[in-house]
């Protein structure tokens, strides 16, 4: 006969303000099996927890029900409390009478009656609970980092520094990410490549880091501590062990196509290295445009290569790796300037976005660092920058702020004046968001030292007139309309999640929000972790982020990974499924529905010497979803912690109150 203790929390006035907690505690005392029932102001506090422990001792309780906030918040708290008193933590159940009762109903009588029914359901369930012992599983102390930008690289360095091996997978031919595309960084105006390349060299020379560029993660199986990932190493068509990085092949290649790195402003060859400081400094052949792969001709690169490194027969190689933790560092995209019909919609070559401006102003870019109009190559004398293009816009479904544009637009204004000292620079803004360290001072510099004209107002349209771009906007501070005849317009377009971020999220089994950024475990208190154990988030794939915040989040994620690896073993969740072989009919319906392939067929010797087939659930693989339990017709499978008996008892309890 169970000895149940019921503890009803006031949660200050959060619950007690709507639910008559004293009455509830009194009512529960009359339930079958309830030995003691009381209320208390804050059950989760130390004194509150001590009351539970004391009562377990005093009244020899073997089951506990805590009626309070959501178990998603404090289940662990109360499980630990009862564990400290020697009671198996799985003999504690919570009734959610706050988030799902006192906070959503107004009528005191109805909320109180509902609270009582919810607690009775929990009492009915806990009577059927059995003690569960968590299993211990080994941890593979190796990390996988998806994305080789500044966030991924920083995470790789931090984890490798502690001594754990790291696999860094990058989709493009070189690590470096967005920073490699920037010219200078705010607020110091450091040359981006100058501060990035030492980090790239550190990553390359660290013996614990294995870099896989031009590679993608194809699939992720398993669970925290024991992931099995398939990585596709795409065929570069160049043998990395032979290539010396001399660049002859790139020089002699006859094909020229739009460069992705230069965002269409410049060209690259079919065999190419994305930028001069690439790591690894080994080119790849773009088979879609290479004359050999499309027409069977040319082969000049192979002919001129002194190291005989070009190999057209190379094929993609898919490797399987076991890792214990995965860090998502997949970064962001900047939305296309051609998407905005009021600003030309792609008709005007001289309307570009912020990233394209970076390429242009960069000395290793398509114009060697000279500001040139894409249409006719002339140097622009009147530059207009427009902030908040596509961000903070409900109509486009992008209500969020892209965070970085105010700062990089000021940077672009400064760089414009440095390159073309007699240029007129205008910036149309709605607000200026310069919250970081030395950020506000940087904006002031752009205005006061460099003479950029800041106009508070939106631009309604851009149209062409006599070879110039007429920018028509508002100046709300002087309460008038302005028209500026610009030579070039730079749009600070919205920072968006990568186009395949949903696919990546589903592959990793992690949630994403309405803007397709990956969702963190808690927006305030757990920004680098995920509800899916073993997966960590860093950089802009979680939310718009500048370089210092990206580096900080990478270091944050790294320490979480290292903390995971610091354990000898992992305590696995014991709420997994178990098959009773005497009831199993070997229909294998469970095998069909299990998403994790956790059920296998085994042969066992029965007592009379015959071999019997039976189905077994692999403990380490089962995630405890219960799909097999619900599909098993003879009812041979139980899900510990959510057995049929437990759930039926909750249903019956509810029905008995009707």
């Amino acid at each position: 006969m169970a000895r149940i203790g019921v503890f009803v929390c006031h949660c200050g006035t959060n619950i007690a303000g709507t639910v008559d907690v004293k009455y509830v505690a009194e009512e529960m005392a009359g339930e079958k099996g309830v030995i003691i029932s009381r209320d208390y102001k804050y059950m989760c506090s130390d004194p509150g927890q001590n009351i539970i422990k004391e009562y377990i001792r005093l009244y020899k309780l073997d089951r506990v029900v805590v009626a309070a906030c959501s178990p998603l918040l404090h289940e662990r708290t109360f499980q630990n409390a009862v564990k400290e008193e020697g009671l198996n933590p799985y003999l504690m159940e919570m009734a959610n009478i706050r988030e799902q009762c006192s906070w959503v109903h107004r009528d005191r009588a109805e909320a109180t009656a509902k609270a009582i029914e919810l607690i009775k359901m929990a009492v009915a369930k806990v009577r059927m609970n059995e003690p569960l012992i968590p299993k211990r599983i080994p941890i593979e102390r190796k990390a996988l980092i998806i994305g080789g930008g500044i966030s991924g690289m920083q995470a790789a360095l931090d984890i490798a520094m502690v001594g754990h091996p790291v696999i860094l997978v990058e989709r493009s031919p070189s690590i470096g990410g967005r920073m490699a595309q920037f010219d200078k960084t705010f607020p110091t105006l450091d040359c981006a490549a100058c501060i990035l390349t030492p980090k790239m060299v550190d990553v390359r020379s660290n013996p614990n880091i294995r870099i896989l560029t031009y590679s993608e993660v194809d699939s992720v199986q398993g669970y925290v501590g024991n992931f099995e990932v398939k990585i596709r190493k795409r065929a570069r068509s160049v043998d990395m062990s032979k290539c010396t990085g001399c660049g002859e092949c790139v020089q002699k290649c006859p094909v020229r196509v739009d460069s992705e790195f230069d965002l269409g402003l410049g060209k690259r060859k079919a065999i190419y290295v994305p930028f001069p400081q690439a790591v690894p400094n080994v080119p790849v052949i773009d088979r879609v445009h290479c004359r050999f792969f499309t027409q069977g001709k040319c082969q000049v690169c192979q002919k001129v290569c002194p190291a005989e490194a070009v190999n057209y027969e190379q094929e993609d190689e898919v490797i399987t790796e076991k890792v214990g933790a995965i860090v998502a560092a997949t970064g962001f995209d900047l939305s296309d300037p051609n998407d905005y019909s009021e600003y030309g919609g792609g008709r005007y070559k001289d309307v570009i976005n912020g990233l394209q401006f970076e390429r242009m102003i960069n000395s290793s870019g398509p114009t060697e660092g000279h500001l040139r109009r894409p249409s006719d190559g002339k140097e622009p004398k009147t530059m207009v920058f427009i902030q908040c293009v596509g961000s903070r816009d409900e109509n486009l479904g992008r209500p969020y702020c892209s965070k970085m544009c105010c700062m990089y637009t000021a940077k672009h204004a400064i760089l414009t004046k440095e390159h073309v000292p007699d240029a007129q620079v205008y910036v149309f803004y709605i607000d200026i968001r310069a919250a970081g360290k030395n950020y506000e001072e940087f904006i002031r510099r752009a205005i006061e030292q460099y003479g950029a004209t800041y106009l508070r107002g939106r631009v309604s349209r851009i149209f062409e007139k006599n070879g110039k771009l007429v920018v028509r906007g508002a100046d709300t501070l002087s309460k008038g309309q302005v028209e500026i005849e610009a030579d070039m317009v730079v749009l600070a377009t919205a920072l968006v999640a990568r186009s395949d971020s949903v696919k990546v999220a589903q592959m990793l089994g992690i949630p994403y929000d309405q803007n397709h950024f990956f969702t963190e475990m808690h927006p305030k208190l757990a920004p680098v972790e995920n509800v899916t154990s073993g997966i960590y988030l860093t950089g802009a794939c979680q939310a718009p982020k500048d370089i210092p915040d990206s580096v900080a989040s990478a270091s944050g994620a790294s320490v979480k990974v290292c903390a995971l690896f610091a354990n000898d073993e992992l305590i696995a969740d014991p709420m997994i499924a178990e098959i009773n072989p005497t009831l199993c009919s070997l229909c294998k319906t469970c095998v069909d529905v299990c998403p994790f392939s956790a059920i296998i067929e085994e042969e066992r010797k029965s007592p009379d010497g015959k071999t019997q087939k039976q189905m077994r659930i692999i403990e380490g693989v089962c995630h405890g979803c219960g799909a097999c339990v619900a599909s098993c017709r003879p009812g041979a499978i139980t899900l510990k912690g959510y057995t049929d008996q437990q759930i039926f008892s909750e249903v019956e309890s509810l029905a008995s109150n009707l």
């Binding site: 988030e99 009762c101 949630p511 969702t519 979803c625 219960g626 799909a627 759930i647 029905a655």
Partner: protein
């Protein structure tokens, strides 16, 4: 029971009782968000937490209806977002089969409803509950539990083929 209760007659001020099976990762968290956001909804629903909507056995739903609960809601993660990858798909398929069974045995299939609510959709959860309660109010009270001797009747075969 002395008098046979009439099924189908609405009682004044009757409020339907709804049992909602919510998956721990999405819908249960979404319902919590409804609370954190202090959005109100009718007090008719009682929530039962399951790890995944795929855990919900049709027998639970039949038991609930058989015991007199007026309606059942099963809510899971959006397609593609199931924390266990595919549990919500299983739930949806079972639900489709269950609907036909309910029709066949004479239980209004509108008593069992299905929804996708994610952990960030606190407002949607409230809307779903309001919808379910409104739909059930339009149906009569579930009369099944008022036949305690029904089990006895089932044991006796009846019909022209006897």
């Amino acid at each position: 029971m002395e008098t046979k209760p009439e099924i189908g007659r609405k009682e004044k001020d009757w409020e339907p009782r709804v049992l909602a099976f919510l998956c721990r990762w999405c819908s249960y968290a979404g319902a919590d968000l409804t609370g954190s956001s202090r959005i109100s909804y009718p007090p008719n629903v009682r929530i039962l937490r399951v790890p995944c909507s795929g855990r919900v056995d049709p027998l639970f739903i039949l038991k609930a209806l058989r015991s007199g609960i007026d309606g059942v809601l099963v809510s899971g993660c959006h397609p593609g977002d199931c924390h266990y990858t595919a549990g919500n798909y299983n739930a949806r398929r079972k639900f489709a089969i269950l609907s036909r069974l309910l029709e066949y045995v004479g239980i209004d299939p509108r008593r069992v409803q299905f929804s996708w609510v994610s952990a960030s959709e606190g407002d949607k959860f409230a809307k779903v509950i309001r919808g379910v309660v409104a739909d059930l109010k339009a149906l009569s009270r579930n009369g099944l539990s008022r036949f305690p001797d029904l089990d006895e009747k089932i044991k006796e075969p009846a019909g022209p083929h006897q």
